[in-house]
């Protein structure tokens, strides 16, 4: 049988290919870390390497061991969910050598406004200020104790905590209504807003005061037949009163 001659140019290519494959095999044998693949697609010893890294954060329990008075105070306040090191920075070094390393004490306004600056998408009820308007340039700690951030006095306006709703309402047809036109406001809400809530209208008649067909209100206000319109539902279950759809 006649064997077909292999073209000359394929020989060095085949040699190069073999060389590449051999190099790969040898590199794998020599360079692959021993513990690779033991647990997964990584070097198992990497776990030990990571475990050996310096620890920066101490955790709030470590803080509480010495500063139990501050910790207890904070636990009773609305800052109970904020870890000590969220404001004071990583403090593992302080635990190791309390006299040599003192954690930071942030005193500038920018620090507090990271959470308490006005942002329309923060949850309603979350205390927010506009830093340029709220006691400009005064350090927050002048009036507020960060470990127990009780308000120095009751908020003067609903916008202190519900600014987004107030802003929305301000450009809606309900702009001229005050919040208490619709919401019953227990006095305690201003002191303890979490435990004592402002009340949403619980009857259809509340909205009916202006929107019922027989209501004694301005003629341009949209009217409905209170007895038949959306029977069985409260008005605000379908209509968003802070920006009623008539405005859109």
């Amino acid at each position: 049988m006649k064997v077909k001659k292999i073209p000359q140019q394929l020989i060095p290519l085949a040699f190069l290919l073999a060389l590449a494959v051999a190099a790969l095999v040898i590199m794998r044998l020599v360079l692959l870390p021993e513990t690779f693949g033991e647990y997964g697609h990584y070097r198992a010893l990497a776990v030990d390497d990571v475990a050996a890294l310096d620890i920066a954060y101490a955790g709030h329990q470590a803080c509480a061991e010495c500063h139990d008075d501050v910790y207890e105070l904070k636990q009773q306040s609305n800052h109970r969910g904020v870890a000590c090191e969220a404001c004071h920075g990583p403090a593992a070094a302080h635990i190791e050598a309390p006299d040599e390393y003192a954690p930071e004490v942030p005193r500038n306004r920018e620090h507090c406004t990271l959470c308490h600056g006005y942002n329309p998408t923060r949850p309603t009820g979350f205390p927010q200020i506009i830093p340029e308007l709220h006691n400009p340039r005064q350090p927050c700690m002048t009036c507020h104790q960060p470990h127990h951030p009780e308000l120095p006095h009751a908020p003067e306006e609903c916008a202190a905590c519900h600014r987004q709703i107030v802003n929305e309402k301000a450009v809606s047809h309900h702009a001229s209504l005050s919040c208490t036109t619709c919401h019953d406001l227990p006095a305690e809400h201003l002191v303890d807003p979490v435990m004592v809530r402002a009340l949403k209208p619980s009857t259809r008649e509340k909205c009916g005061q202006c929107h019922a067909s027989n209501a004694d209100s301005a003629p341009e206000i949209p009217r409905i037949e209170l007895a038949t319109h959306g029977e069985g539902y409260l008005c605000w279950e379908c209509h968003y009163p802070h920006q009623p759809e008539a405005n859109r």
Partner: protein, 403 residues
Amino acid sequence: MELILGNIVNDLSKITGYIYPNEFELHWGILVVVYPYLTGLVAGAFILASLERVFDVSSLQPVYRLSLLTALAFLLVAPLPLLAHLGHPLRSYQMFLTPHTKSAMAMFGFVYAWYLMVVLLLEIWFDYRKSIVVWSNEKRGVTRYFYKFLTLGTTDISDRALRFDDKIGRIITIIGIPSAFLLHGYVGFIFGSVKANPWWSSVLMPIVFLFSAIVSGIALVIMIYMVTTMFRWKRLSMPCLNKLAELLFYAIIVDFSLELLDFVQRLYEAEESITILSQMISSRLFISLIISQIILGTLVPTISLAWARFGRVPDEMRRLMYFIAALLIQVGIFSTRWNVVIGGQLFSKSLRGLTVYKLELFGLEGALTAGLLLILPFLVLFVLTRVLPPWSAVESHVSESPV
């Protein structure tokens, strides 16, 4: 800490709406924009070369070798932005030692290696083999030994051997076309498969990437062909240039239609992300998407190409219009990559806010590095054309059109 906080507050003021804390910093910066741009040029230039080889579009012969070298020059630089972005470039070989078959990014090393070693280098070697053997006999001094090394010891340039070269070159090109599709389709696939990102997640993404790659590759070869011919004081082949412009025109029409289809589909689907995406397009991406990508990078060049190619325009003017169109297309395709990579990170996953991209000038992830990486392929190409002149074999075919 005060300084850091001051900077953060300054940047925070540019943010609109609500974003999650980890969305403040964009993790994929301009280097990740440069990377798909470069690989797109590779794939485009190679597909152009394959038209001449496989489909026998003979008028493209003057740019066949140039396209191959262009593809090689850009392919050699293509991984550099990724290496610079990831850091630790000395670890990159490990990707080959421990293949991770479930990671698309890890498998790219193999796609890249296949395309470089098996497709481009082999095709170029077989195509130049005869010339290399001739040069290894003609040249003197060190260059002689250099070419002797490039022959890899094969000196057979008999008709039979050359026929074999041609045949195998054709086979490699046929393998190369799907490989080029794979190379750049893969880049689109990486973005398209990010389910959590509504700006990226689309099955059309690899296809749109591929066609924009073809567009940018052809436009690049037009520019390089015109500039190199001018500096060599040679005549441009008008049939070749016309053919290139024609192909570019068809490619850009298909590319734009696909992008439009993708866009219309998103609008019609109107998923919950559409509001924030519309906001992003009309604010953050207005210049790079509407102005740069669509108007300057697509509509103007399309009109310019159609007018120059099919209208009654003198050759001088026609060449100028081709060149300007090709240049604008580069700007447009770079903007496309920018809009995909940066755009996909500008809106919050909460769909309630937009962040800003803070491009730095210096530093590893800065604009200067990106500029350098965009210039580097041209330097590589210059060296390649010195070592393997792409024009010697075709000069005789060129028509008599003066520059």
